[in-house]
Amino acid sequence: MEKTKIDFIVELIDSKQFDGSNKERLFKLVSDELKQIDDTNNSVKSEVNLIKKKLESIISGDFIKSENGESVKIQDNVNNSKTIHNPQRVVDLLSKFSEKSTALKFTVHEWDIEVEYKNLSEFLKQVRKEYNEFSYELKELKEKLNGKCYGFLLNENIGKSGWGYDMIKAGWSSPELSKWCQKNPDKNPEECPLTIEDPNKKISITCFGDVIQHFKHEIEVREEGDKLKRLFIDVMRSSGLFNPFLGFNRPELINLDGKTFYTDVQWIKAAVDRIFKGIKKHQKHNPELADIAIEATETNEYVLIRIVHKNSFSQGASIEVNNKLTNIRGDFSTIKDRLHNLCDWSIESVFKEGAFRLNYLCMDEKIPFKEKIDDSKGFTHLLKFYKTSI
């Protein structure tokens, strides 16, 4: 039988050649092997969970028997969707980055006098352990978001690929950070000098602390700097809606200050960009529809954002027949994909049959797809972002 690394380590210890001079090599071998065992265990755990979930979905009827007897997944469509949509859970998983007494919290928080980790390597071991506890679930719900977290926390090769919208090529497991921390054991990792510049994206990173800040703003709409308002301003500007010559009046931004929630900012921006492009396209043929209002309201459970293209209606369209609104495709399909598991998404408008709300993504399964409403001020997108429930 082929010798394993463990066999080799045992032999090395028993060997007469083993003395203090090669203990460093032994320690490295042992630690590498233990890490690999840990990873294998986690991978097995993930596989088992995946099989379990698939079995559950077969039992719950997500799969049907086709004519030739094979299991076939029911196609996802607006009216009969069994796809898991649980933005609340994604928020709760991301809120682990602010959970007290965790290593995860200190990946996005200044290391102050309470940090007990002896060195970066010890710290990252704990980070890996905590991340592994929720990464499988996050991957199932929002794979790209999980990839972003993994890239920032644990990917040692992140220097080649990068994470997030700006493809930041540095993270907690970057070898450069590890080397710097070894040389500067008394210093805070945030101080590690790094240079990442991209004038096109207005990125200027000079130390690892900047990388941390960048990540924080990718997983949370933060209160400081009124980031929700900034998000809409940025996207409207890049869509050209702020140019006084384009024909739009100044968009009304109502109550967007001070709102905060966990999400994947990159994909929210991408979805909102599609929404504004749709508005712009519609206004091009109807120049009189020049007014947009964006308003946020808040409860203890959620932040609700209404994007209203005033006086723009869908009176020609019927919600009773299959059309691009009831059987979504094109831009709406892209928006749905981007917002899936990040927020609830509905539209409101006046249709041939009257004013209705169509709930494309809704966490509460009891709420029907079509809801009659009293009135609509114009074609409205509603985005409901959940707050942490923990």
């Binding site: 809120s95 602010s98 007290k100 996005v108 928080h109 200044e110 102050d112 006098i113 309470e114 602390g209 800040q213 924080k216 209160e223 400081e224 700097g225 009124d226 900034r230 301003i233 940025d234 500007r237 702020f242 140019n243 006084p244 010559f245 100044r250 968009p251 931004l253 200050d257 001070g258 905060t260 808040e298 203890n300 707050k387 942490t388 923990i390």
Partner: protein, 223 residues
Amino acid sequence: MKNIVLIEDKLPRMEFLCKEKELNLTEIKELTIISDSKFESLKKSIGKSEFNLLEGFKAIMSHHSAWSQKELDSIKEYCKKTNTVLILFSGGISVTHLRTSKPQVLLIDVERFYSNRLILFIDAFIKSEELNLPILQYGKNWKINVLMETRNNLAVFLSRNPGIEVLDYYEESIKLPQALYSISDEFELDLSWYENGIRQNAYQVLTELNKQLTSAIKKVLFQ
């Protein structure tokens, strides 16, 4: 009379920073410090939406991470209802952020919070009974600091955009500090372009603002 309350769940950090910066907060009569068991009682009360322990304070200063999001929301709601100034400090806040609409809110980095500015802020309150958040943000000479910061940011924008003709609505890249709005009337600064955009001669309009800022700075310096 109750005045200002400081809620701190990380007492060792507070003691460390106060010692390092030679701040003696416990001697300030107007300041009530809630920590340890008192903090635990307060947390239980807030969890039940009971605010009697905070009633009567004009300003609440608290460690941001001491609270869950739900607890923080209810504290903000309480401050809104009672028009209480809220100051939240944390090691996780990178940019100081001031909201001037009621209730006033300041988010500030913990190292900046536990500094001589805190003493100046409390002293100013004792003297005038006014809670002047820009003092905590910018220090004693806050007006001059705000004006200088604006002028510097504007100069950078103008140098990067020579001869700019049109300015979009809500042009953010000029980076106007929020505290500027609280003194714009006093120094007759024209900031209407931020909401209205500029359809022509934007460079001239902003150069004019630059001149207004320069005379405001002179006015403060030679007052």
